[in-house]
């Protein structure tokens, strides 16, 4: 474990007040260590997306704070970017224009932005589709564009909110492999992933450590270090994989029953 975590989530509470009060998150704390792949798992509506959006700076916490490299963070920065559940692509821009936009905004020179966009689109396997519009792309291709866009700025942390839940299983599988490659590639600056999911196998397959949340109001009810060696694809038939899945299942469901 390295000394300072890249990201610290400290005592985050979120209460939505519009008319009635909804307590979405109740005192959540955990660290993301350097080069770690974290999954946050929990039942639907437990505040996973809200937590991720607070980390991204899209939502302000009612109390608590986010420390990024030891400094409090409340605003979006190009050091922490996000991949969206339904891709969040601009339908009126081509693949390459979608990837370029954040760089343009960040003041990166046009030629440099174009070159980088090309490189990242190639990396996600869309070298041939630079000028395609999102509506001409399949769901899998769209999410690849989303990933290229998020990485092109060279962020330190990549946040992913159920990035595969709008995709079919086969497409999801190939994208999981792609993401793990990117995460493990030391040549790329982005090596800290925080991914929200509600898919148990997916979490076990991808994460170093899994944060388990309770139904609303979301609290951290457990943490699981995944003991499987990498690359994980060679171990998907291991008893250890199934044991870990079972254990995580247990942590999730004991909590649900407790609520009922």
């Amino acid at each position: 474990m390295s000394a300072t975590p890249i990201l610290s989530i400290k005592d985050i509470v979120k209460i939505f007040r519009n008319g009635s009060e909804v307590k979405a998150i109740d005192d959540v704390s955990f660290d993301v260590n350097l080069n770690e792949f974290i999954c946050i798992i929990g039942p639907s509506g437990c505040g996973k997306s809200t937590l991720l959006r607070i980390i991204a700076g899209l939502e302000t916490a009612t109390s608590g704070q986010i420390l990024f490299q030891g400094q409090p963070k409340t605003q979006p920065t190009s050091k922490v970017t996000m991949v969206f559940q339904t891709f969040g692509l601009l339908p009126w821009k081509t693949a390459v224009e979608n990837v370029e936009l954040p760089m343009e905004v960040a003041g990166i020179e046009k030629a440099e932005a174009k070159a980088r966009a090309d490189r990242y689109l190639k990396m996600v396997g869309l070298g041939m589709f630079e000028n395609a519009y999102p509506h001409d792309c399949s769901g899998g291709m769209r999410q690849r564009i989303g990933v290229a866009r998020a990485l092109a700025l060279g962020p330190e942390v990549l946040l992913l909110d159920e990035p595969f839940s709008a995709l079919d299983e086969l497409t999801a599988k190939s994208l999981r492999i792609l993401l793990l490659q990117i995460w493990g590639d030391p040549a790329l600056p982005t090596n800290n992933f925080v991914m929200v999911t509600h898919n148990v196998e997916e979490a076990v397959m991808m994460a170093d450590r899994i944060i388990v949340m309770s139904p609303r109001p979301g609290r951290v009810v457990g943490e699981l270090k995944v003991p499987l060696p990498r690359p994980r694809f060679e171990h998907l038939r291991d008893p250890l994989f199934f044991d870990t899945v079972d254990k995580l299942m247990g942590m999730l469901s004991s909590n649900v029953e407790e609520q009922m």
Binding site: A56, L90, L101, P102, H135
Partner: protein, 544 residues
């Protein structure tokens, strides 16, 4: 309660400041107009529902009805109103023709929105819902009651709000019409109501009284909107913004109709044997028969009832140098320019509101009440008193241009505003979050996120706005006041048409100008708006 208090207060203040004798009958007139608008609304509703459901569920009916209604909505209603009214007055003397004429104008002001709203909504029923309904054995009236009507209701309500407001706006035009004879003597055809009350007051120079009438009419529109339509809309859960795309879907263009005619007349007959083609040909034939019948009836009436000059004289008159025809190109440009100036101003206002709708959280709190208020202004009724008021201190041409500009803006802006603001507010939150995460701010956010996102709604709004504009520009380019030997006019296509209708009484000439005007309307719609819409539609955001 507050509504009635407001009406009572208006009444009392009116009787105090203007005089009891002048306003004493206003409630009676208002009730007459309310009754007229309401009855015609229900007729339009019945016709729209019946034909709309028929057209949406029956292929053959669709082939006949949709093009007919499409042509109907492309012809500016104030353009053919004098023609129809002339027939009706001859056919039904003793004031009955006037009343039918007024009702007819109101009907045409309301019907198209309702019909296309119904057709669009029925066609938009998801096929999974239809399949489920079929699977559970819903047929006939059950299908209608549990699937079609609930599916149509939101669009029907949106269309009804438009229709109701349009009906009131055209009330003033429908209740009071003046024809001049060759000697310049005016004949007035009017039916009793709030609209003719306003007109008469303006004609007689009681400008305060006419403003008072406008105020009462605005209050009625506002109150009925709040009490009836808002309540109904709150009750019918709408999950999506009902954009005007649903009100005026692109179903079938007259251009395709033309192609079908060509095929009918032998230019394109290649396929005869195939049963599908045969049935298509049959319905085309039916359509052709309907057309021929309508045309010959109209033609017969024209020649039987109207003392018109011969066809030859007509042709030579419009083609001779300095005749009516030579004015057409330039005057068309004037009218288009007038519409364009108002349109550009509306665009500016709309874009500002779109940006505010996305960036300011409580924008909707202020926007919708203001929208409701503004939408209640019966702009056609405003025009004449406005012109006369301005005329007091400004030169004639200037005051008429200004009044016309304001009238056109009021006719155009609401379509744009409503569509664009609704679309801006329905912008998926994910897109807004994308711009926040990647730091897209300021002007860049306007040009790269907000504008492209509202573009389809913007174009639909523009299409509707221009349609509305053409309808009222006819009204503003020609003003005839009592005691004035010549009318006040602005050079334009609307003036040419009005002159032909109200001064020359030349029906073929009116029809001729109507063709030109409808041609411009259809060309603009097909070549500009529909084409743009097609191009941007695939870039539209998905509303969920």
């Amino acid at each position: 309660m507050a509504a009635f208090a407001a009406l009572l207060a208006t009444y009392l203040l009116g009787s105090y400041y203007i005089g009891m004798s002048v306003v004493v009958d206003v409630p009676y007139y208002a009730l007459l107009s309310l009754g007229r608008v309401a009855i015609v609304y229900f007729i339009s509703l019945g016709v729209g529902l019946a034909f709309g459901i028929l057209a949406a569920t029956n292929k053959h009916a669709e082939r006949v009805l949709v093009p007919l209604f499409d042509i109907g909505q492309s012809v500016p209603i104030l353009g053919y109103f004098p023609v129809v009214l002339t027939f009706l007055i001859i056919a039904f003397p003793h004031g009955v023709g006037n009343e039918i004429g007024a009702d007819f104008l109101l009907f045409t002001a309301m019907e198209w929105d309702i019909f296309f709203g119904v057709v669009g909504a029925v066609k938009n029923i998801p096929s999974s819902v239809e399949e489920a309904a079929r699977g559970y054995g819903f047929t006939g009236s059950n299908h209608l009651r549990y699937v079609v009507i609930p599916a149509v209701l939101p669009a029907l309500l949106s269309a009804s709000v438009l229709a109701w407001n349009d009906g009131w706006t055209f009330d003033v035009a429908s209740e009071f019409v003046q024809f001049a004879n060759s000697a310049g003597k005016l004949t007035t055809y009017s039916v009793t109501g709030l609209g003719s009350y306003i007109q008469l007051a303006t004609q007689q120079g009681h400008i305060i009284v006419s403003w008072y009438g406008v105020l009462v009419m605005g209050e009625i529109i506002f109150i009925t909107n709040q009490l009836i339509w808002h309540q109904l809309q709150n009750r019918v859960a709408t999950h999506k913004p009902v954009l005007a795309t649903i009100i005026r879907p692109d179903l079938q263009s007259p251009l395709r109709l033309r192609r079908r005619f060509r095929r009918l007349f032998g230019l394109r007959i290649r396929q005869v044997a195939q049963t599908v083609r045969v049935s298509e040909q049959l319905s085309t034939r039916a359509l052709a028969v309907v057309f021929v019948v309508v045309l010959s009836v109209v033609g017969f009436l024209v020649y039987a009832h109207l003392p018109i000059r011969g066809l030859q004289a007509f042709v030579s008159d419009i083609t001779r140098p300095g005749g009516q025809l030579s004015n057409v190109p330039l005057y068309s440009l004037f009218t288009i320019g007038r519409l364009f100036a108002a349109y550009i101003t509306c665009v500016g206002i709309t874009l500002l509101c779109a940006v505010l709708a996305v960036t300011k959280k409580n924008f909707a709190r202020y926007f919708y009440p203001l929208y409701d208020l503004g939408r209640s202004v019966p702009y056609l009724a405003v025009f004449l008193p406005l012109f006369v008021t301005l005329h007091g201190s400004l030169p004639t041409g200037v005051s008429q241009e200004i009044a016309s500009f304001i009238l056109l803006m009021l006719a155009m802006v609401w379509y744009l505003l409503f569509n664009v603001v609704t679309a801006a507010r329905a912008l998926p939150t994910e897109l807004i979050e994308v711009s926040a995460v990647f730091g897209v701010k300021g002007w860049k956010r306007v040009t790269d996120i907000i504008l492209p996102a509202v573009l389809p709604a913007f174009i639909t709004g523009s299409l509707l706005a221009w349609g509305g504009g053409w309808n009222v520009v006819i009204y503003s380019e020609y003003v005839q006041l009592a005691g004035q030997s010549t009318p006040y006019v602005l050079p334009g296509l609307g003036y040419l048409l009005d002159n032909a209708a109200y001064v020359l009484g030349d029906i073929p000439l009116v029809v001729f100008f109507l063709f030109i005007m409808s041609g411009i309307v259809i060309l603009l719609e097909r070549l500009v708006w529909r084409r743009l819409l097609k191009r941007v539609e695939r870039f539209g955001v998905e509303f969920n």
